[in-house]
Subunit: 457 residues, 2 copies
């Protein structure tokens, strides 16, 4: 658990704050107490409390938050909670809350606001901020621009450490998470970075030029945010400059934005895998949930229907030997499990850069080897079990053969589906499973019932 | 794509390096070229190249890496690749590589080393490092201690900025990612932090005491690493002090360790969900893969077998009406899809702190409402389709009713399985799916075939 050196309100975990606020809320006369408690909390902790409350209590708490803190808290809550809070605010309140935010922060909120409100917010900005805000709004989600902070401190290289320190002392404070200054020439072109930790250990009369790290990882504003996140991880970055096509510094990506991005992307992938959007949470209305989950169920219904028609084609065989109906789900299901293992490995290998045209054939050979070996082993086990249950040697043989063939199908599908999705620019981690299950189900039924029809009935 | 201001070797993406190295490797006489190219690369980029090569080529490259860089590269590669590299090194080589690492880094490698090698490494350390290494080795994976770096710079609060800067100038350099000094009293107890970005903007004659951030998030070495990662995200931290039970500073958690932790945990969850370990990659041997994937297939075989026996109990009904065999996978499959949606939402709500005893009942009511509504809608659709296919009104009715009931079962299982796993301290994101599918399959078959037996045959 996070601990703090002094006994201050934030010393507790956010869960403790939530519990305390719920107790205070239970006695509604303590609203002043709640307000005082909220004032002492970090915006992220207030956000945590709002997340944990059902709608009507959430709005009571939201009403206690002073306008100048609303923007920071809106940035911290999840999409579904943000929607409910914004729905409770009128246009003027939203514009007022935005006044306390930086342009890049406003841009993060913009997707949840109506065009008119965004227009009002833009008009309420002063000239310089308005230009930054319009620039921030122009970068789509998933680009470096969307993670960018405009607040940077630049310096020239032809000064001494002493001059640099004197220059810095003219600032009241440096932007959050600043660990380095960006060194630029007179045209604002990036020359490198000067780490604060180097500045503070160096004698005052040394030239800044000798301290500069020139081998700097920088990004274009339209770079892929995922690639930037990988670079942060790979090179242990805290800040990276963002440089325009003209070579001029336009901002920076701070590591806190990267960490948030990694978490959010991970979370939205988890949801997308089962066909959910971030707009639903456990406090959403029943009808909103039914609608949110509907398309996924409909898609799976279509694939299940096709698989069902495969079985339907063999109803004659099943009438003669009902054991087939009992055994066929095993063949299909294990195919699905094995195929999902292959797909997961391929998705990971794609992320690690392990898959290239030159080793695709090798990969295929290997997976087919694994599938054949597993198929012989598990097919024998299942064939034996089928024989034990029904004392029918031919049925056991068909079961074993179907298992082997469906594992080979699963391996092929498990390789080709993610590779094809990647080639078409789709995230292979998200949609692969539904296609894969469709193939392993349909083919599993077809192979097993087909073999049974030929050899058994 | 990551861009760098000058035309240096690192300017390319790691994929470009991999392609270039593979081209050079194709002409084996260019090994000296490969070596030169590797020398200019960041250890993480060398690691990327090693990841992307099949075993024999990987070992050729590994042989070109100078001993003093081996440790850093071993830290960057994935578990499965690390295993292959370590297998290629003898005891003395591993001990030599470890000499170039910090104690916390050695501790990260230790799980992949034999006890004898670890003992050799400990003995090769000097006294202070040995104590740190033994301390680092004592923290299990998943704790803050395992992410901890011992390298911290501490300072007293009763000095001026000028004195602090003079003190810092006695250092050659500060530890990587240092953005703040830890302020301690004479007993090494943490009093707060002093951000470098504050130090550099403050006049030399100001007392450090006035600049200190006293509201600091710190951790105990045995704190949960996942909770620490959430705190980093929530409070936008770059470094957090680690404080022992006696209140003394023993190290820090740097944000790069947190970012690595978040990624690795995410990756190992993805693999664990389909029953895979990190020891397998697409270059592993066929037999190693078959063994790695076996337990998961065996587990799923058991659950599929039980579901199959449920169907077996109704073979008499299926013989009379083979359409049941064609329709039953739809009921089971859609139940599984819907249940996985519920589980995913619950797992997310648990992570956001949205689930508490006080709202568990509310949650249950809501999910049952969603399941009933969806069940009526999709049940009607399926019932109609069944009627269309078989022109049997009773069959359509049974299909609709079974769909509705199985969606209710799926909602209940989708809530209770993750909550139960959480209560028993298991990760609900990892094992829930196999249990859930087991229940929705078995119950789906039972409900549909049971209703059919009562009303149709």
């Amino acid at each position: 658990m996070a601990r703090r050196p002094e006994d201050i309100p934030r010393s507790a975990s956010p869960q403790d704050h939530l519990d305390a606020v719920m107790k205070l809320l239970a006695r509604m006369r303590d609203l002043a107490d709640v307000r005082r408690r909220l004032e002492a909390l970090h915006p992220a902790d207030v956000a945590y409390i709002l997340e944990g409350l059902p709608l009507e209590k959430r709005l009571v708490i939201w009403g206690l938050v002073p306008p100048e803190r609303e923007g920071d808290i809106l940035l911290e809550v999840s999409d579904s909670v943000r929607e409910t809070l914004l729905a409770d605010m009128n246009r003027a309140e939203i514009v007022a809350a935005a006044q306390h935010l930086e342009p890049d922060e406003i841009a993060d909120l913009a997707p949840d606001l109506s065009d008119e409100v965004v227009q009002d917010i833009i008009e309420a900005q002063d000239v310089e901020e308005r230009a930054e805000l319009q620039s921030a709004l122009s970068y789509p989600e998933g680009t470096v621009g969307a993670l960018m902070d405009f607040d940077v401190v630049t310096i020239r290289e032809d000064v001494t450490v002493e001059v640099a320190l004197r220059y810095l002392r003219r600032f009241d404070e440096l932007p959050s998470q600043t660990d380095a200054l960006f060194v630029v020439d007179r045209d604002d072109h990036l020359k490198g970075t000067l780490a604060l930790k180097k500045l503070v250990v160096t004698d005052p009369d040394v030239e800044v030029a000798t301290l500069i790290e020139r081998d700097v990882v920088s990004f274009a504003p339209d770079s892929d945010a995922e690639e930037a996140a990988q670079a942060f991880e790979r090179y242990d970055l805290v800040n990276a400059p963002v440089v325009g096509a003209d070579g001029k510094v336009i901002g920076r990506v701070p590591v806190d934005a990267v960490l948030d991005f990694v978490r959010e992307r991970q979370e939205s992938k988890e949801l997308a895998k089962v066909g959910l959007s971030e707009d639903e949470d456990i406090f959403s209305s029943v009808w909103a949930s039914v609608k949110n989950r509907g398309p996924w169920i409909a898609l799976n219904l279509c694939t299940a229907f096709i698989a069902s028609r495969v079985v339907g084609a063999f109803e004659g065989s099943i009438e003669k030997l009902a054991a087939l109906a009992a055994l066929m789900p095993i063949v299909a299901g294990i195919g699905g499990n094995a195929g999902n293992q292959t797909t997961t490995l391929i998705v990971r290998a794609l992320a690690l850069g392990q898959v290239s045209p030159s080793n695709a054939r090798r990969l295929l050979t290997r997976e087919l080897g694994v599938a054949t070996t597993s198929g012989v082993i598990w097919g024998s086990v299942l064939g034996f079990v089928a024989w034990l249950l029904y004392r029918n040697v031919a049925l056991g043989g068909v079961m074993a053969m179907a298992m082997l063939l469906n594992l080979i199908v699963a391996a092929l599908a498990g390789i080709f589906i993610p590779l094809t999705m990647e080639r078409f620019g789709r995230d292979p981690a998200v949609g692969s499973s539904v296609f894969l299950t469709f193939i392993t189900d349909s083919m599993g039924f077809f192979i097993f019932l087909g073999l049974a029809t030929v050899f058994l009935v």
